[in-house]
């Protein structure tokens, strides 16, 4: 078994074992063991990658290629570069944290953990795929369990939310499929056979007219899950109804598929299309950055605040990708990681607060720092990270994005950048508003009853998210060098 296929096979094995679980205790232990091994695998992959990278300068490492469906030239083709390795680590950590946070999942625990792990399999598969068709299949595998997870374990208007989320993402998939097929049918432009293989297609010059047509389809198909304005509205409702671990995984990992897909497929394979359309999507992304931040100011439900905050932060990812230089791209990737950890942390904390106070309405909470100091202090730290304070990952990401955006020679791009940069103020407003209302200030009705302090499994989940945020923020050099190195071939491809 090669080191990458393990990421698909091992979770599936965990699922098989989980089928035999009889109780919550058994189910969560199996899930915990399985996800700890996943983290081990991804860390091991990191070291293996760094070792291999020092002697091998192929674009993708650990590649493997098996014919899957010969007539259409579909392959089981996998491989990774620094970007996918980083995202795999993110995924494994968030899944593990999600298991910790769901420690007390009383309702159908076995089925819950199975869905969670199936979802993560889809994500792993997506990040290692080099074949468009395979990638698309994994994309669907990641999206479908979401419907069940929200529909069964959710709260509030969960059927509505689950339906809305799934339908919008499925609609996007349909558009994406058209885009992918468009790429496929033009992949023989140089006279070679039609192929789904990303690396092969990258060598082919897809006709410019086809690029102009299929780029926006592929871009939007991916960007919907990346919460591009105005296709983001599945996110607030979906998150508000989803159980904690699902929100964590969804916002922390699944939404990253969007930016990754845009980068790896839409932009890499259709550089002319990218140049042609970039201004249009830059306007949408930059607008989304500010718009999401302003919309977050007026929300009172913690999950809505975090959902709109995601619209703003992920808008920055797409914005940076479209700036077409390696500094901004580096920023986009780091922002994906950073947002993944931060938003997962936030959803975890929101879940903990909700469990104790039975409300997510910030206007009804106050002075939580006095009652649950650990959880509240972590929320403050997470908030500071989210508003881009130096020393945390968000700062590293944002500065790369802003400096990169400013390298664009066109003045109009720099004006768009200034627009996006100003989000740092609006972000501070909505973060400090929540901190001031909910954590500081006099105690309110909901905070008066004595509450359980953070438990060990909650702390474990918190630290899993917090340590990478601080680690990237304090010493960003190795990560950013690893990503920059992997960006190099793409920069040559696109420009």
């Amino acid at each position: 078994m090669d080191i990458l296929s393990l990421f698909i096979v091992f979770p599936l094995l965990t699922v098989l074992v989980l089928l035999g679980a009889k109780s919550l205790k058994q189910a969560r232990l199996i899930a915990l063991a399985g996800t700890i091994v996943q983290v081990g695998m991804s860390v091991n992959l990191l070291f293996a990658y760094l070792r291999e990278r020092s002697v091998n300068d192929e674009i993708m490492l650990f590649t493997r290629d098996l014919v899957w469906f010969k007539d259409f030239n579909i392959h089981y083709s996998i491989g990774v570069d620094g970007i996918s390795v980083a995202l795999l680590i993110l995924t494994s950590l968030v899944v593990l944290a999600g298991v910790f946070i769901s420690w007390k999942m009383e309702e159908l625990p076995r089925e819950f953990f199975i869905s969670l792990i199936v979802l993560s399999t889809g994500v792993y598969g997506f990040f290692i795929s080099l074949d468009l068709f395979l990638m698309f299949v994994f994309f669907e595998i990641a999206v479908i369990p979401m419907f069940l997870l929200i529909g069964i374990w959710g709260s509030g208007p969960r059927e509505y939310a689950a339906m809305k989320l799934t339908l919008m993402l499925m609609g996007a998939s349909a558009i994406l499929l058209v885009g992918i097929l468009g790429i496929y049918f033009n992949s023989g432009a140089d006279g070679g056979p039609l192929t789904f293989n990303i690396l092969e297609i990258a060598k082919v010059q897809i006709p410019v007219e086809a690029q102009k047509l299929f780029f926006p389809l592929t871009f939007i198909g991916f960007a919907v899950i990346g919460a591009l304005f105005p296709f983001h509205t599945w996110s607030p409702d979906g998150h508000a109804s989803a159980p904690t671990a699902v929100s964590m995984l969804h916002a922390g990992v699944l939404m990253k598929l969007g930016g990754y897909g845009v980068f790896r497929v839409a932009m890499y394979l259709m550089p002319e299309g990218t140049l042609h359309w970039s201004w249009f999507f830059i306007v949408l992304a930059a607008f989304g950055v500010i718009y999401g931040a302003f919309a977050a100011i007026r929300q009172t439900d913690l999950k809505y605040i975090n959902a709109y905050s995601s619209v703003s932060h992920l808008g920055l990812v797409l914005f940076a990708l479209l700036m077409l230089n390696k500094t901004a791209w580096n920023g986009a990737i780091i922002q994906s990681l950073s947002h993944g950890f931060m938003t997962a942390l936030f959803f975890a904390l929101i879940g903990m607060i909700y469990e104790r106070t039975h409300t997510r309405d910030v206007t009804r909470l106050g002075g939580l720092l006095k009652v649950i100091p650990f959880i509240s202090a972590t929320y403050v730290i997470g908030g500071l990270a989210s508003l881009g304070l130096p020393g945390f990952s968000g700062f590293v990401a944002e500065m790369n994005i802003f400096v990169g955006a400013f390298q664009h020679p066109e003045i109009s791009y720099r004006i768009a950048s200034i627009f996006a940069v100003s989000a740092i103020v609006v972000t501070a407003v909505y973060i400090l508003r929540v901190v001031g209302m909910m954590l500081m200030g006099p105690l309110k009705e909901n905070s008066l009853t004595p509450m359980e302090r953070a438990t060990w499994y909650e702390k474990a989940g918190i630290f899993l998210m917090l340590l990478p945020i601080i680690g990237i923020g304090v010493a960003p050099l190795w990560l950013s060098e690893m990503i920059l190195q992997s960006i190099q071939p793409f920069i040559q491809g696109v420009l």
């Binding site: 302003f294 007026r298 590293v396 802003f402 400013f406 501070a428 001031g436 500081m440 200030g441």
Partner: protein, 639 residues
């Protein structure tokens, strides 16, 4: 120079912060106080050692004090742009090390008494250490991005300390306001950095500030609206500096920041963090001076002068002693900006720059002292309001004498520290622009009035019956007062000009006798006015305020700047844009999505009706379809 020792100066407070922060609940107040004080004591010793090494051992190299840099790469942006982390040793950074460490040490010692019995004692000391670390990092920064990073970190330490009493709603609001207003200013700073980085290809102070280098000899790589882009960059950076240093109109957070514990106000909001803006302009002084013949520097001068006057007028009317001191700080910072703004570059033409740094130094001492005295008073009478004070000289002799020395220093009475630095500022301004000099001398008079107004109000004034007779503070609090009082009386004699000048060569300083006489006369006049009005309780004050009418009301209401901000943020940003965005999202954007979804459902219901399951319906459809096709076919065939 021994860099491994210098790097310890910031790292020790960082370690203290981490230890106290992580062990917050496990260690008692005695231990955390001890760790905090001994940490900063070590940093102070190292700072003085560094100063000795730099000025004494290294000394001048070919006529000028050298700029010594040691750094490592922290992150690469592009092939040329990167963030370094390191230390930059030159006269002003060494001076700042002395200022920050000395005041921080005094405040740490003082806080052990002041914060005694507070439940957040350990948290307080850990935040104080976080601040000290960040401030050291800021003054030692080797490049624009490093200074920005630590700039944000001092901002957040300030936020945490203003909101220290976090269950108090006013403290929470003040902390939030301070952070957001300065963040807004930092937006300018950041865009300025991005602009300058893009056009010069470096963030490094050495390259940016080199008067003979490529950047300053070709300062207009591009222009925008008639000004060089570098001038725009410098103006934007100055906006950041103006936010931190509470220059008009970004000053509104500073008076509110007085919600924090008084030692915090002394350290952060009087002596160190608020001078960061002044330090920033000084750090980039060659750029400000040479780019476009100092256009941006002119703005600095006028903003500084206006803020100095504006704040001094408001300070006259406030009744909360900490707020008076806050406006006083703003006013003195205005002086420093003004002095920088009128400075020349070479040799003794750099008098403005030198006097600005000198004033920064002396101000740190006497303003920290004023705040610590105020804290001592507040500790004794449990109120910030002047009306709750009076005749305190009888109860608190040490605090009284210390306050008096500080008041004489800030008023500019010789031989106290403020006289020397303020006199140099006025000389520098006079040589440059007599209008600005007029403002400067007016502010000098007002300063004497407002400071002696509260001095007389606290320590003389009305006979007040106290419920509990006030008493002098414990020695942990009076010791720092005495030390700072001695410093406030003596540091004016340091020959600053031989150490600090823009071109780092130093020059021979001297006192301009006629100028000094005028300044002292004005200060004494102000003191006299305060004596007459406030030494004893008198009717004159209320008659005067009545006579001034609207003028007084406006000054008392701080010229309604806060109300203006409130209007813009509440009504335009919150109710307008933010609420608009939220509504738009729920109704228009999401509405459209729901509409698509619902219309699909409606459509499907319509279509669903056709599948009735009755054979007659299908037969009907089949027949009519066939007929239709037949007609169509015949029609096409014949035509």
């Amino acid at each position: 120079m021994n860099y491994s020792l210098i790097i310890l100066i910031p790292l020790i407070p960082l370690a203290v912060f981490l230890v106290l922060g992580l062990l917050n609940r496990k260690i008692g107040p005695a231990v955390s106080g001890l760790i905090g004080v001994s940490g900063i004591l070590l940093s102070t010793v190292l700072s003085f050692y560094t100063a000795y090494q730099y000025f004494g051992v290294v000394g001048k190299v070919s006529g000028a004090y050298p700029t010594l840099v040691e750094s490592v790469v922290w992150m690469n942006f592009t092939d040329t742009l990167r963030i370094d982390m390191g230390v930059l040793i030159d006269p002003i950074s060494v001076m700042m090390l002395i200022v920050v460490s000395t005041v921080s040490l005094m405040v740490h010692i003082y806080s052990r008494g002041y914060m005694k019995g507070d439940e957040g004692y350990t948290r307080f000391f850990s935040f104080l250490s976080l601040f000290t670390f960040s401030m050291f990092g800021l003054v030692l920064a080797t490049n624009l991005f490093q200074i920005y990073i630590f700039w944000e970190l001092v901002g957040v330490s300030s936020y945490l300390l203003i909101g220290y009493y976090y269950t108090k709603e006013s403290a929470v609001a003040a902390a939030k306001k301070a952070f957001i207003v300065t963040r807004f200013a930092d937006l300018g700073f950041l865009i300025g950095i991005l602009l300058i980085g893009y056009y010069t290809g470096t963030y490094d102070f050495g390259a940016l500030n080199d008067p003979g280098g490529a950047i300053l000899s070709n300062w207009a790589p591009a222009s925008f609206m008639g000004l060089s882009v570098l001038t725009w960059g410098l103006i934007l950076i100055f906006i950041g500096g103006a936010g931190k240093s509470a220059m008009f109109p970004l000053h509104i957070w500073l008076p509110d920041a007085m919600e924090g514990p008084t030692p915090v106000s002394a350290l952060i909001h009087a002596a160190t963090m608020v001078v960061a803006g002044v330090f920033l302009v000084a750090r980039l002084f060659p750029m400000y001076f040479f780019v476009e013949d100092g256009f941006a520097l002119q703005i600095v001068a006028f903003v500084g002068a206006f803020s100095a006057l504006f704040a001094a007028v408001i300070a006259l009317t406030q009744t909360d002693i900490k707020r008076v001191l806050a406006y006083s700080t703003m006013s003195q910072l205005g002086y420093m900006m003004l002095a920088l703004g009128v400075s020349g570059y070479e040799g003794s033409e750099g008098l403005g720059y030198m006097s600005s740094m000198f004033h920064l130094f002396t101000h740190a001492m006497f303003k920290a002292l004023l705040f610590l005295c105020a804290g001592s008073v507040i500790h004794a009478v449990h109120s910030n309001e002047l009306k709750d004070m009076g005749q305190l000289r009888k109860y608190m002799p040490v605090t009284h004498i210390s306050f008096l020395i500080a008041a004489l220093a800030i008023a500019g009475i010789p031989p106290f520290a403020g006289f020397w630095s303020k006199d140099e500022i006025l000389v520098a301004v006079f040589e440059h622009n007599t209008f600005l000099y007029g403002i400067g001398i007016l502010v000098a008079g007002l300063t004497a009035i407002y400071i002696f107004r509260i001095y007389f109000g606290i320590f003389w004034g009305k006979n007040k019956a106290y419920e509990h007779s006030p008493h002098e503070s414990p020695s942990s609090m009076t010791f720092p007062l005495v030390v700072l009082a001695v410093l406030s009386a003596t540091v004016g004699f340091i020959p600053f000009s031989s150490f600090i000048s823009p071109d780092r060569t130093g020059f021979e300083g001297h006192i301009d006798i006629p100028m000094a006489i005028v300044a002292v006369a004005v200060a004494l006049l102000g003191l006299g006015v305060a004596w007459i009005l406030y030494k004893k309780e008198s009717e004159m004050v209320s008659r005067l305020t009545d006579r001034l009418g609207v003028l007084y009301t406006w000054a008392h209401q701080k010229f309604y700047v806060d109300e203006l901000y409130l209007f813009v943020t509440k009504n335009i940003l919150f109710k307008g844009i933010a609420a608009g965005a939220a509504w738009f999202d729920r109704n228009i954007v999401d509405g459209t999505m729901n509409l698509i979804g619902n219309s699909t459902v409606v459509l499907s219901r319509k279509i669903k009706g056709m599948q009735s399951g009755r054979v007659q319906d299908y037969a009907m459809a089949f027949v009519s379809g066939t007929v239709l096709l037949a007609i169509l076919f015949i029609y096409l065939w014949t035509s």
